[in-house]
Structures are given as C-alpha cells and as structure tokens.
Amino acid sequence: MRCDEVQAYLAEHLTGLLADRLSGKVQSHIRDHVMSCADCCEELEDFEEMQKVLRSIPVETCDSEAMRAKFDSLMVVRDAKLPPSRLRQGRLGLRAVIVVGGVIVMVATVFIAGRHHNPPVPVVAVASPVASAPASGTVSEQAPNVTATPAAPGVLNGRVLMEDGSAISDPELFGDIEIQAESAVGRASTENVRVDSSGRFIRSLDAGEYRIRMADLSQNYVIRAITSGTADLLKDPIHVKGDSETNIEIRVARNRSNRGRVRGMVIRNVADAGSAERVTLCCFRAAASDRMSAPIRQDGTFEFMGVPPGHYSAELQGNSKLTLTNPAIDVPNDGVSGWILNTVTPLVSVDVTLRLDTDGRLPYHPGTSIVFTSRSGGIRVVATGVVGNLFRASAPSDQEYTVTVLNVAEGYAVQSITDSSNSDLLHGGRMIVPSDSARVPSVTITLTKN
C-alpha cells in the first residue's frame, strides 16, 4: 500500500471502528506499513495527539429537563395542528362520527320539540364554547359549526393521609416531599408540587394523562396507596380533564420493616473540612430516579430503612467540602450494614510538564507515569498522559505530596523535579496542593540524556 492510501485510513483508525470494517489482511498491511514508514508513523502520532486534545475540549452541558419540557409542549401543539396520521385517522374519525351524531340527535330533538310546542321554544345550542348556532328562535336545519379550542387547564387537588385516614401527625416530616406528575409521553417530569403542612397540595395542569409519584419520601414512611375515586394510580396514569377538578389521595404508613436497611458510617479523614449533615442515596432507573436521605449522627453513622434493592450512589449534603471516594453501592434484598463511606478533600488538577534539558524533542514513550504520594502514604495519585509531554493529575487538595517519575525512556534520566514555587521535589521536597489557590499547581520534570 502507498503512503497516501494508508494515511487515508488513519483518521478512521483512531475512532477504533476500522477494525470492524476491514479485513485482517488490509489491517495487517496498514500496521506493517506504519511500523516501517516514519512519515506515516508520525502522521498517526500527530492525529492521536490531536484526537486526545479534541476529546479533552469540554462541552457545556445542556439543560435536558428544560429541553424535554419544550419538546413535550411541541408535541402538544403538533398534536393539535398536524393532520392526523394513518393510525389516528381511525380514532379521530370515530370521534367525529360521535360528535356529528350527537349534534344531529340534539338538533332533531329540538326540531321535534319545536313542532310539538307552539309557539317555538327559544333554544340556545352550545356544542362547544365557541359553537356558532342561532342565538334564539327556530333552530336551523343545518348543524352548528363546531370549532375546537384548546381546553382550559384542569386542577389537581390532593391530600396525603395516614393509612387509616387520619391526618398526618408530623407534617414537618413531609417538608421535603415532592409530588411529581409524569407525562404519559416518555419519561419527562412535567410538574412538581410541594405538600403543605396540612398534607394538601394543589396544581394546575394541562388536560392530559399523568403519572403521580412521590420523590424524596422520608425513609420513615412507605406509600400504601395513591387513588382517585376507584382508580389505582400506583398502577395507572390519571386523566386530568380541562376546566375541571380532579381529586387524588395518597395514603402512607409508618415504615416498620427492617427489610432493605442500609447502615453505615461517614469517615471524616480531614479536619476543618466542614460538616456533612445528611447522606442522600440516589438510584437511577430507566423511567425515574429514587432519592432518599438520612441525617448523619454525631458519631458519623447513618441509617436508611426500606431501601429497595438496586444500584445506588451516595452524596453528602450540608456545609462540607468533603468528596466521597466510594459513593457507589449495590443494595441486596436484605440491605447493607457496615458501609464505610470514606472522604477526601476536593480534587484539584495538577499540571505536569515533562521536558528535556536541551529543550529538544522528547522521545515518544507513553509508558512514563508520574506518581504523587501524600505525606502519610495514604493517598497515591498517578498522573496520566494527556498530550505529548503534558500530564495531568487530580489530587485531593490540602495535602503535601512527594513526586516520583516511573519508567523513563531508555537512555534518559530525571535531572530535576520542581513545582511552581521552585521547591526541589527530587531531593526530598514536598509539594503543597491547596484547594483555594488562584493558580493551578504545576510541576516541571526535566530529563537529561545519560
């Protein structure tokens, strides 16, 4: 294969997709060629470095919730405006027959009534809020024009009660509860509403189908039922009608089950890092997420009750700078006891530059690694190569580190290691990584040829 033919494959080779598409023979041709051709090898290295940087460019995250809400409103508008699709034609057609049939029946009834009573009875025909019909007098032979208008919003009126129908005894326990209505179209949470101190909530909603659930439910309670009349809303969505009120009732009970008990302790390794007040457990599922929180006691312990089995991640809340090192956990049916949550101070980026004393080009040697070890030896961070001679580490802040270089390219040795304040880290000096410095801490490692 010629260089230009090989090079045309290199960009795609970087994506890792080439292997799936090309035959083994072509792949080995490319590999052999790159191994023996300095130009193509350099081209590949250049592309690899560019790709690493391209992928390190951060993307500002989008507001998925707001986008989803906008998308849902688009769907509602489209539903009203678009010509019906093939499947919907049948349903709408039936609806149209029912409406027209109803109007005909109404007109016929009034017409017959008019015949039987003399003089004719004034009639006001209202088929919709803007239905045009004779305001009074004899009814016309023609059916009134029925014009569709958007329905006014409906009102969802709800109450949380104890299982036996009594009022909730301690409304404060429900202060953090949110009741979330989910659109039947996909996953979107469209409305949130807070329960007031008397256990009531009210929300204006567009007509449509919604699912009702409770988020952030106190671990001391479990839901027994969510109903609207005879409808079981734990199973089915609720249909909110426009311009009318829909009542729902949520019955809860004290959680006396030991099943799904999760007990653990937060270890505060660092002083002066503030105090975490609560642990929150989050479980992300396909359709929604479960969140529950528990206070951290004086001795660092915490306890959750009735945690459904699943994969959870923990977060700390409160005035704390601590970062959890092991936030993920699998909760089996019978719960977890003795979960130790380790904490460190916030991670800070450290830039590391590897250079040659002559300022010449460094040999390509991806095996080199830079190790940061804390004074106690309890924290060990390895910097990973980012691009060429630049490395980057994420190290817990407010610690002192020694810095060592492992696996230098053959024929080279470390001449010096200095940090931004020119401390000699090669001969016993320690580097302090502060959490609140305006400058990013950096280390320069100078190599020399043996």
Binding site: L17, S64, V387, V440
Partner: protein, 199 residues
C-alpha cells in the same frame, strides 16, 4: 416494548402516528444532537434550539423515513439541514469566529489546567477556522464515531470519497492548529522577553 426497540422500529412507529416513540427517540438522541450543534456553533442556547428544530422536522418529514433505511444517518441529515438553514437566515449571526473559541469561553484555565487549556483553545480555534464541510466531517467522525460508510450515506458520496474527505480535513486541521499554536507560543516568548526586560 419501546425502550428495547431499535431506532428504526421506533421511527417507523412515529411515522405511523406514534408519539411516545418519538419521546424515546428524543431521550436517546437529544444529547448527541446537542453536542453536534455545540461543536459546530459553540453556543449552548443556539444548540438547544436547533435540537428542538430537528425534532420538529422529524415530525414534519416523518413520511420520508424509509423502513429499510438507517435512522442515525437520516437523523444527522436532518440536523445538517437544520444547521445550514439556520445560518442561511440573514438575521442570524454566523457561527463564532477564530477570535473567540466559544467552547472554552465559559471554561476557566483553572478547571482544566493552563497548558491544556492553551492547546485545547488552539485546537478549538483551528476547528472553527476550518471550512464548514471539513469541520462537519471531523465533528461527526471524531465525536460521534461515524465511519466512512456512515459519512458516505450522510453526505451522498461513495465510501472512499468520504474517507479521503475526513483525512484531508484532519490534515487541514493539523496545519491550522500548528500555525495557531506557533503564533501563541511566539507571542508567549515575546511577552516573557518583554517582562524580563522591564524587570
């Protein structure tokens, strides 16, 4: 059924009037589309609006989706059209220029390190300086894992032509990247020389 269905099955259902299926497609693809637009424009709000425009177009042109076709190239063809139509509008400012690499506009050097920030900034400038058709193939191949087969289908060219186009775009990006990096570096050298003279 919908959560496990393929994109093509869902889109066929949307074409036949399904709405819930479009919701699933939105959940699956809105982030990828947003990132595509963000790499092309560098503007979050504009990118979010363009994603909405794409889904609006999907509804409008749902009948053009063919049963035997693949959804992803079809989706990105709609996204490309939405992007080009948007910037064809004379009232809309063109995408950000070389003067301001917008992707890094809201990223402090502290969060990713000054040297990496400098290099990423240069590469982002280089990407924005590429002609739109070149930038597009780089964004699609490097960020969205599109193969030259996918690109060929999307761009309506044959596979070798798509492969060569990607390679040329990468080479062009490298040239501009090197030029900008050298300009920045020589500027740094001059600045440090001036600083040492003044002290």
């Amino acid at each position: 059924m919908t959560m496990n269905s393929t994109d093509e099955t869902l889109m066929s259902a949307v074409r036949d009037g399904g709405q819930a299926e479009l919701g699933v497609l939105f959940e699956r693809h809105h982030r990828a589309l947003y990132e595509f637009f963000f790499h092309m424009t560098g503007d979050r709000r504009e990118s979010e609006n363009l994603v909405q425009d794409v889904f609006s177009r999907i509804l409008k042109f749902r009948d053009t989706f063919r049963e035997e076709g693949r959804f992803r190239p079809w989706l990105f063809r709609i996204a490309r059209n939405a992007y080009h139509d948007h910037f064809r509008n004379p009232q809309v400012d063109p995408p950000a220029s070389e003067l301001e690499p917008p992707i890094l506009r809201n990223v402090s050097p502290r969060s990713i390190g000054p040297m990496i920030h400098e290099i990423a900034e240069s590469l982002q400038s280089a990407l924005l300086n590429l002609p739109e058709d070149r930038r597009e193939v780089i964004v699609l191949s490097q960020y969205h894992g599109m193969t030259s087969d996918d690109l060929a289908e999307l761009l309506d060219v044959d596979e070798p032509a798509a492969r060569v186009r990607t390679h040329r775009a990468m080479m062009e990006l490298r040239e501009i990247f090197r030029r900008i990096l050298n300009e920045n570096r020589s500027c740094d050298v001059t600045k440090s020389r001036l600083t040492s003279q003044s002290t």
